[in-house]
Symmetry: C2
Subunit: 113 residues, 2 copies
């Protein structure tokens, strides 16, 4: 089991802001997952990776594909109080779910360093 969070790197969010948005996606996708997936993922140590998305359009397309695959997803729009405009799509959480299912959606994306 794993979880991935795809970041809209066109925004180049600063470190603290990015971390808060990724955490938001992580919790939001987690609570949408089936209880059995939640429990297995927690047992596995909550493996998660943060991946590079090119744009808001890329996040929307990945959300569509993940939903078609039956995966739990959470597309995060920022409240826009601080760094970015209201409604800006910052990241997409997918899973926890089976690694192979998630890799079928995000396997081609690079890690955010």
């Amino acid at each position: 089991m794993k979880q991935v969070i795809v970041v809209n790197e066109s925004l180049r969010l600063p470190r603290g802001k990015l971390a808060a948005q990724v955490a938001h996606a992580s919790v939001d996708a987690f609570i949408r997952a089936p209880a059995q997936s939640q429990e297995q993922w927690l047992h596995d140590g909550m493996p998660k990776i943060v991946l590079h998305g090119d744009s808001d359009a890329a996040l929307i397309e990945l959300e569509r594909i993940a939903l078609e695959a039956g995966l739990p997803v959470a597309l995060i729009a920022d409240g826009g109080h601080t760094v970015v405009a209201p409604g800006t799509l910052t990241c997409l959480g997918i899973g926890p779910a089976e690694r192979t299912l998630i890799d079928g959606v995000t396997g081609a994306l690079k890690l955010v360093k």
Copy 2:
């Protein structure tokens, strides 16, 4: 209700690594909170902030104070597969809990930009 994640900024983790560690702390502290706190926080839109911690010792001390205040906490040690040494303390999640209770522990800390 809110949640804070205090980061060990002596490590200066790169953006993606920091985001994954903060997400880990966020989920881990969330699952340790009482159901009523979880529900209220989700209803409020999961407000969370990422704060600056000076060192691993600072995180340990904040964990002690938060536990004494009865708050749900999660102190995160990295697996050390990639960027940092195994067991390095990367961040501390506190809450979700009442804002005033959390501010009593972390109110003096600065935001991570």
